[in-house]
């Protein structure tokens, strides 16, 4: 933490701050020394905060008009879309906001993977992040159930049935989740309650995530430890605030395009058909952001093992700080890791693609290879790479290569690497 000795100017400020050091906190947040070489991939933390707040505010508003009852949920959503003042706008922001949230979180996660932000001393930040991600998936899934369309109903049926894979108690757990013998009104009301609760849990975890971040400070594209405050850092306000703001606005333009011009493209047409327990839609597909995990689930021919594989695919990330044995953080100085990183990105995109396709023939084969590679990357490649890889020499400070002060032979290479980051 930066300046604990902060003293407010005014007498009242001092009186208040002695009792509740809010002003010290505000001062810490404004002055927080941030590496000045952060690139735009680092702006997604701020963008994600915006996404969370947008979802909470629009969600709160929607909850004022939505009716969590199997007979009325679909009607109440149409009521919001047609009659409530600006209801269509608020609902489309909320629905597309979920996708935007995941888009941003994936960029945020992959930025961390590239620059090794999960490594010591930032393991706790990373693990909190994984928990947030898990909660986001739960919130998104339950939110998708609320409109009570065909995809809501069958998505809920399929996902809750995953629990039936657990030996012995599985069936009991599913019945307990449903509150009946199928997905029905009790399921809907409890999903609504949890969907309302989870964002506030996420909010609390975000506070911890940022708190844990502010102890060691930000990682940076070069991945080396920096002294703070120093020549290498800038105060968070106004430098980082304005930069995050600029990136956020760019993000909002994309967001607005989806909301105003193609609001339903990220959804599924079948969800505009009211839930019908007698008819399953022809293709059951989860929302795009869950597709890679869906592909992993389907690529395993055994029910229990499929569920285990899917869960492991997420939970393996929590062990990442220890699976990656390399001392070097940033992929800029790890030529081999950089290649494997991009293969992993491609692998996840392929998993996402085959997740949207029918699970048969060639698609199934690709899904299996991609699933195997996904685990291979984390369980074999990363641990081995840390020992085998010949890394590039790292600069002593983030200003050094820019000043051209590094006398060693690799300096030219490093500069090239840094140029790419700009």
């Amino acid at each position: 933490m930066s300046d604990h000795n902060y003293q407010p100017q005014s007498k009242f400020g001092k009186w208040f701050n002695d009792r509740l050091p809010l002003l010290t906190l505000a001062n810490h947040l404004t002055d927080y020394p941030t590496p000045k070489n952060l690139n735009y991939w680092w702006t997604f933390g701020g963008i994600l905060t915006f996404c969370l707040i947008t979802q909470i505010v629009t969600g709160l508003v929607l909850a004022m008009h939505y009716i969590a009852h199997a007979d009325m949920a679909f009607d109440s959503v149409e009521h919001i879309m047609r009659d409530v003042n600006y209801g269509w706008l608020i609902r489309y922001i909320h629905a597309n906001g979920a996708s935007m949230f995941f888009l941003a979180v994936y960029i945020h996660i992959f930025r961390s993977l590239f620059y090794g932000s999960y490594k010591s001393p930032r393991e706790i930040i990373w693990i909190i992040g994984i928990i947030i991600y898990l909660l986001m998936m739960a919130a998104a899934f339950m939110g998708y159930v609320l409109p009570w369309g065909q995809m809501s109903f069958w998505g809920a049926t399929v996902i809750t049935n995953l629990f039936s894979a657990i030996p012995l108690v599985g069936e009991g757990i599913v019945t307990w989740l449903w509150g009946g013998y199928s997905v029905d009104n009790p399921t809907l009301t409890r999903f609504f309650t949890l969907h309302y609760l989870i964002p506030f849990l996420i909010l609390g975890l975000v506070v911890l995530h940022i708190w844990a971040l502010h102890v060691p400070g930000n990682n940076n594209p070069v991945g080396i430890d920096i002294k703070k405050p120093s020549k290498d850092t800038v105060p968070f306000h106004p430098y980082i605030v304005i930069k995050d703001g600029f990136a956020l606005l760019m993000f909002m333009i994309v967001f607005a395009f989806f909301v105003f011009y193609t609001p339903n493209i990220l959804g599924h047409a079948d969800n505009y058909i009211e839930a019908d327990p007698l008819v399953t839609p022809a293709h059951i597909v989860p929302e795009w952001y869950l597709l890679p995990f869906y592909a992993i689930l389907r690529s395993v021919p055994d029910k229990l093992l499929g569920v285990v594989a899917m869960l492991s695919a997420i939970l393996i990330l929590a062990a990442l700080p220890w699976l990656d044995t390399s001392k070097i953080r940033s992929a800029v100085f790890r030529p081999l890791y950089k290649q494997f990183y991009w293969i992993l990105v491609a692998d996840v995109l392929i998993l996402g693609y085959v997740g949207a396709m029918p699970a048969e023939g060639l698609y199934l084969l690709i899904a299996r290879i991609a699933t195997a590679y996904y685990f291979l990357h984390f369980l074999v490649i990363l641990p081995v790479l840390g020992f085998k890889e010949r890394t590039l020499p790292i600069p002593l400070s983030i200003t050094e290569p820019i000043l051209g002060g590094s006398p060693n032979l690799a300096a030219a290479k490093i500069e090239k690497g840094l140029d790419k980051l700009k």
Partner: protein, 259 residues
Amino acid sequence: MKKFLKLFSFLFVLLFFSFQTLAAEKVEYLKTDWSFKGLFGKFDRSSLQRGYQVYTEVCSSCHSMKYLSYRNLAEKGGPEFSEAQAKAIAASFEVKDGPNEDGDMFTRPGKLSDKFVMPYENVKAAQAANGGAYPPDMSVLVKARGGGVDYIYSLLQGYEDPPIGMELDDGVYYNKFMYGNKIKMANQLSDGLVNYSDGTEATVEQMSKDVTTFLMWAAEPHLEARHQMGFKAIVYLIILTILVYFSMKKIWSRIKTEV
């Protein structure tokens, strides 16, 4: 900065097109020019009014539109019938109301606030009257079908004789755009089926287009407001982005010298 812009637009384009290809079905639908597509897309009022006529005279005997009210017909961004016309339309329907003081249900002429009168009491009654197939409610039908307006437009014109060798049960018809090609709705449209009061020739193609436009509005009644607001919002965001960009340059120029 340039790199960033490039990356951002690349991501955006990738995202957009990947979903568009995922969303689009493989069937080639019939194409027509929809006035409501594009950044400034608006509904063609007369087409909406004609479409309403086709709906009432042809579709509404089997298909309900339970989320629409007669008042919607006079609302901005819709067919924009005059208030008097909409009242007259509403009054031409018998609406069930009650119970009155004696506890009985009664019928009265429709009011603007009434929902569109449904052809059947409930889904079961609709199924019973249609050989077990439920004629879907058309309020959000366009959004509930993968191909959207193009699909509906094509389906209405997609009736053909079945290919040789295909056996069709009673009450099942062949339609080249229907999923699985078998449809339980018979061909409804034929040239000159309705009499358009504005003198437009009621060809099958014209009626399909009009009624599809009407269904698009029914599913997305605030489409025009959305397009207008979207344009303003995006122009606003671009202006603010430019301002913030230059502010950012100014602020960061303070430390450039130190680097």
